[in-house]
């Protein structure tokens, strides 16, 4: 079993003691927070997007991976033309999303009806107006949160579904790029990788299918690897190319003959896939969950800690001073919550700066694109087939947007960290911690949880991931952007539990933005195909409005994204401050109560509290240990990929 599943189980187990702490200490709000975090981990989705030309065995491959011989139609005269998603569900449920973007309805269908919507043969030119096929299946392969998204072929990307495809790729955790053993990687496929995939997601696994039909797949694997070296700019060992046979895997389902399984090489693929997922998204999901547990336990612990401190040998003066400090903190936190707290303005100013920066970068980039369009229009070859020009510009815009997205994510994360600093939020935490530790140390077991470096890394990873558009997003949100928000209830199984993090807006927004661009592009491509005269003037008449539309659409979207970002960052910070204040209040309360206790009561309480603190220590230590393990998973030796291949 891969690490992700193992660790996930362990982390989920840690929720139990934490929740029982919250229960015992009668903190329903914190208990709810834990339950929410637990749910997010349970529901946590790992998005795997499958790309590749149809006819190269993609549908068979999916069937084989899922152990479902008859899920996707695979006849040789069939082309599948619809984006399909598959996630885990207790009961099999298949729905198709029909209608225009912005006005879609979901229709429940049976398995046999899949080909009616999904194949070109039965749904010519998509007269059914299908946007998406959504499959829920009680499939063990999906139980750990895998979401597969099957996108139509790269060659026939001039379908209307490109909008949806563009929305998924930036949010993919891993991309499986499927080709078969008879077709070397084409220039078109390499171009697609370069322009549409690599800027957004570098977690790629190349799958070469149909190896049952040849004995020399190494030749084509090496040939592909050579072509990918220049594109991906990595060491050859870090380009995973895994050969498989869907045929043999499916045969294994009925034959149960291990030779079929081994020859299929699917186990190598699954290992490779999980390794990659564990290292990236898996790690983030786990660390975020761990972080939450740690956070809540911290909050639960502090009042208890202070109570214990009170029962130790402290002079009245010392206790007075402690109480004063806590009151000061309380006041500070109260002020932080006020509307005129300085961090509010800082947040606003910070985001204004980011907005200016981002829009500036976008403008510069777009000016370049305008200049580039001139170059394209002066190329005789391109003028001959002008719809290519729009395709090229689309790719250019795509690159620009992904650049902008990166900047936005990085700067937001930095701003957030700075705000935590400058608002004194960070300080409050550590100070409280130091205060409550007091002079007396609980020698052997005392535990500087808050300042542990491992945990800091954990929080950093978790926080940065929140702003990294890709991982912060909930797929439901981005789908809303791309399809116009009409999917409603369908989005639920995409969302990794409730509660989008601030960065989710970035991911969702960008996804929607790219979807809009694709819509504009498709419209223009058609227009360009229709023009009678292939002159620069005629082409320019189409390109000019295209650029204008794209520009304004992008600008609008970017502004909206940043506005939502501000709102969500503010909410998030407020929520943190609230929690801190709550903890502070309770800590103060605890101190006051403890001071008022009689000596005998204090003695009794002291013993009880010690036991509780020891339990806290144990859990906190487990958290740190686990976090360390998970963080270390990040380092994978370079020999890994070459070792895995048979």
């Amino acid at each position: 079993m891969a690490n992700y599943q193992k660790h996930k189980e362990t982390v989920l187990n840690l929720f139990r003691p934490a929740i029982s702490f919250a229960q015992k200490l009668q903190q329903p709000k914190l208990k709810a927070k834990l339950e929410e975090a637990q749910n997010r981990l349970v529901e946590g989705k790992l998005l795997v997007v499958v790309c590749g030309e149809t006819k190269q065995g993609k549908s068979e491959f999916l069937n084989a991976f899922l152990n479902e011989p008859s899920l996707f139609p695979v006849d040789v005269d069939i082309t599948t033309n619809l984006v399909s998603t598959i996630t885990y569900g207790d009961k099999e449920k298949i729905s198709v999303l029909l209608g225009e973007p912005g006005n879609t309805q979901s229709k429940s269908i049976g398995r046999n009806a899949i080909s009616t919507f999904v194949t070109e043969q039965k749904n010519k030119s998509n007269h059914e107006n299908a946007q998406l096929l959504v499959i829920e299946a009680p499939n063990p392969q999906l139980r750990d949160g895998l979401v597969f998204v099957d996108t139509p072929g790269t060659g026939s990307l001039n379908t209307a579904h490109t909008a949806i495809t563009s929305a998924f790729i930036p949010n993919a955790d891993v991309i499986l790029f499927v080709t078969d053993v008879f077709s070397p990687l084409t220039t078109e496929e390499l171009k697609f990788l370069e322009e549409r995939i690599v800027p957004h997601c570098q977690n790629l696994i190349f799958v070469v299918t149909k190896i049952d039909a040849v004995d020399d797949e190494d030749l084509i694997i090496e040939s592909n690897r050579k072509k990918l070296l220049t594109l991906l700019n990595r060491a050859p060992e870090n380009i995973p190319i895994i050969p498989v046979s869907s045929l043999n895997k499916l045969a294994y389902l009925s034959s149960k003959d291990s030779e079929d399984l081994v020859d299929s090489n699917f186990e190598t693929l699954e290992q490779g896939l999980w390794q990659l997922l564990s290292r990236q998204r898996g790690q983030i999901l786990l660390l975020r969950a761990l972080g939450e547990i740690g956070n809540v336990i911290s909050s639960l612990r502090r009042p208890v800690q202070v109570e214990w401190t009170t029962y130790q040998e402290n002079t009245q003066a010392e206790l007075d001073s402690l109480e004063q400090e806590l009151q000061n903190n309380q006041k500070k936190l109260k002020n932080l919550l006020k509307n005129n707290a300085s961090w509010n303005a800082e947040l606003h100013d910070g985001l204004t700066d980011i907005r200016d920066d981002v829009l500036g970068t976008f403008q510069d980039g777009f000016n370049n694109i305008r200049r580039q369009s001139e170059v394209y229009m002066n190329d005789a070859d391109l003028l001959d087939s002008p719809e290519q020009i729009v395709g090229l510009l689309e790719a250019d815009i795509d690159s620009l947007i992904s650049k902008v997205e990166r900047i936005l994510g990085e700067q937001s994360a930095t701003l957030y960290a700075n705000l935590e600093d400058s608002s004194g939020l960070d300080l409050s935490r550590t100070r409280l911690e130091n205060l409550t530790l007091g002079k007396n140390t609980f020698v052997a077991d005392m535990y500087t949880f808050e300042t542990s470096s491992v945990l800091n890394r954990t929080f950093t990873v978790a926080r940065n991931s929140a702003f990294n558009g890709a991982t912060g997003a909930t797929v439901g949100g981005l789908m809303g952007g791309a399809i116009g928000g009409a999917i409603g209830g369908m989005a639920s199984f995409f969302v990794g539990g409730a509660g989008a993090l601030p960065g989710a807006y970035i991911g969702a927004g960008i996804g929607g933005l790219l979807g809009n661009i694709t819509g504009i592009v498709n419209g223009r491509k058609e227009g360009l195909r229709q023009i009678k005269e292939r002159s620069k003037l005629e082409v320019y008449k189409q390109i000019k409005p295209f650029l204008e539309d794209s520009h304004s659409s992008c600008q609008r979207s970017l502004k909206r994204i940043i506005k939502n970002l501000e709102r969500s960052m503010r909410d998030d910070l407020n929520s943190q401050i609230n929690q801190e204040k709550d903890t502070c209040d309770r800590t103060l309360q605890s101190l006051k109560e403890a001071r008022n206790r009689s000596h005998s009561e204090a003695l009794k309480r002291s013993k009880q509290v010690e036991v509780l603190l020891k339990e806290f220590n144990q859990v906190q230590r487990q958290i740190e240990y686990l976090a360390q393990e998970i963080l270390e998973d990040d380092t994978i030796s370079s020999g890994d990929w070459s070792d895995e291949q048979t």
Binding site: D77, T79, G155, S183, T187, V214, L219
Partner: protein, 522 residues
């Protein structure tokens, strides 16, 4: 092999007669030269050009058509030159250069060595214009094969060699391919994947300037690598191939450009024809294995080649065998052997029947071969006519008499040969210059011999139609088309002219049917 038709024999006799008459007549020496050139061209083997994307199985198909392994096949693509396969008594190569350097003779091995390491010999390889490949196979006396490097759009996609080469030479490659395709007597367009009707790429391939002036007059589509369907789709790949090809051929963009699409199990076809005795023995051993076991082994090529205690044939040989015949081929061969086929020759015949190669060869030679002759003849007649008009003013007495005599005979040939007029109609039809409805179009294709030249086939029945069946139909058609040819209100001149030709065609058929009837009643 095809037998020369009446027309072909008549023409050859006429040419020979004319050449004799003009030989040794100094005033007629120019005319003689033109006669000779035309005759030579007519007698040349038919030119078949093969075009396709890389990895479409071109080399395998060529080997299958010829029946011997002439061209090397490989998993990664090799050359990008033109290869022209011709007949000679000893195998050798002649390399022609772009630079005007005189052609070099090389052996097969020498050239193979060069193409194995293209980077080292890049300069040499890039300077090659085309390569004449001479091979002592009788079929090459009947047709030559022109193996083209392909089309720029598809070629750009997966060459092993540097991108730069393609950027610099891609256009040139396309031009070369286009030129060869347009001067060939038949062009085979190879596809290794059946595209769906909506597959933009395929449709685009058939539109625009990319393929020059190919029409169904001389272009056939070939669906290759059909053997591959056996593993996942069907126990009868050719049947599936046929079904797919039919569906596919209905796409309007394809119908305009290709006569039809033929499926071929290239690997099996080539492999069966070049099967060695040792391989045949190995097949016999394998046929002894239980069916289920053999099928399971064949499910994976590497598995098939592994050592197993109970299989006498060594793994290495088995791998060679499956690379020779394909998974389908091995399975089919064993099936036949199990059913009682014990002779290698017979086995090969049985196997070939499932590959579609014979149908393709037959189509090339008879249908397109004859058409090619007509087309070449048409060109020759034009040249002769021009030469006649140019020469007659300069001559008198005996030479003039000879010229008039010969020119007259050729002229008669042209006007009497209804086949030329039918050919023109067909040309116009494929160029979409005619306005016939669907049914009329169908009859046009039938009567001009697109579906077969027997009387029955020309009437839209099959080749074994009886006189009783044909008579009423022939009469009906004559009446229809005579009326059609006179219906000036409805159609344009070209269409009316075509209708007139078709009416005459039906008249001739009617006449022959009558004759057959009379013969039978005697």
């Amino acid at each position: 092999m095809n037998k020369p038709s009446n027309l072909e024999q008549k023409v050859k006799d006429l040419f020979q007669e004319s050449l004799e008459l003009t030989d040794g007549q100094p005033e007629l020496s120019d005319f003689h030269t033109i006669l000779k050139q035309s005759y030579d061209r007519l007698c040349q083997p038919m030119r078949v050009a093969i075009v396709g994307v890389i990895k479409a199985g071109k080399s395998t198909l060529i080997n299958a058509l010829i029946g011997e392994e002439i061209v090397a096949t490989g998993r990664v693509e090799a050359t990008f030159n033109i290869n022209w396969l011709k007949y000679a008594t000893k195998p050798h190569l002649k390399v022609h250069f772009k630079t005007g350097k005189p052609p070099e003779t090389k052996s097969f091995e020498e050239l193979a060595a060069l193409t194995l390491r293209p980077e080292e010999h890049q300069e040499y390889l890039l300077s090659i214009k085309y390569i004449e490949v001479f091979y002592p196979h009788d079929l090459l006396k009947i047709f030559n094969i022109i193996d083209t490097p392909g089309l720029k759009s598809s070629y750009k996609i997966d060459s092993e060699t540097t991108k730069d080469f393609l950027r610099l030479h891609g256009k040139e490659i396309t031009q070369i391919t286009q030129r060869e395709a347009s001067s060939a007597d038949a062009v085979l367009y190879l596809f290794s994947r059946p595209p769906s009707a909506a597959d933009q790429k395929v449709v685009e391939q058939f539109q625009g300037p990319m393929l020059g002036d190919t029409t169904p007059l001389n272009a056939i589509g070939v669906l290759t690598q059909v053997d591959r369907y056996w593993a996942t789709q069907t126990p009868d790949p050719i049947a599936l191939g046929n079904k797919l090809s039919h569906k596919w051929a209905e796409h309007p963009a394809i119908r305009q450009r290709l006569y039809t699409i033929y499926p071929v199990c290239g690997l099996l076809a080539a492999g069966a024809q070049t099967l060695t005795e040792k391989q045949f023995m190995a097949l016999n051993e394998l046929a002894k294995l239980p069916e289920e076991r053999l099928e399971k082994l064949l499910r994976n090529v590497k598995r098939f080649g592994r050592e197993h205690n109970d299989i006498i044939v060594p793994g290495v040989e088995r791998t060679e065998l499956v690379n020779q015949l394909g998974q389908y081929g091995v399975w089919l061969a064993c099936k036949y052997i199990r059913a009682g086929c014990h002779e290698q020759k017979l086995l090969v015949q049985d196997l070939i029947k499932h590959t579609g190669i014979e149908q393709l060869r037959h189509l090339l030679l008879s249908h397109f071969g004859h058409r090619a002759f007509l087309i070449k003849l048409g060109t020759a007649l034009k040249k002769i006519s021009v030469a006649y008009f140019q020469s007659r003013h300069l001559l008198e007495d005996k030479p003039l008499a000879i010229l008039e005599n010969i020119a007259g005979k050729f002229d008669t040939l042209k006007s009497k040969e209804h086949a030329f007029q039918e050919l023109d109609v067909l040309k116009n039809y494929y160029s979409q210059k005619l306005n016939f409805d669907d049914q009329e179009q169908q009859q046009l294709l039938e009567v001009t011999g697109e579906y077969g030249t027997s009387l029955g086939e020309r009437l839209g029945l099959n080749a074994r139609a009886t006189v009783v069946e044909m008579q009423p139909l022939a009469r009906e058609r004559v009446n229809y088309w005579k009326r059609r040819a006179n219906n000036r209100m409805v159609s344009d001149r070209a269409t009316l002219a075509a209708a007139k030709v078709l009416a005459r065609s039906y008249e001739r058929i009617w006449y022959r049917v009558q004759k057959a009837q009379e013969y039978l009643s005697i």
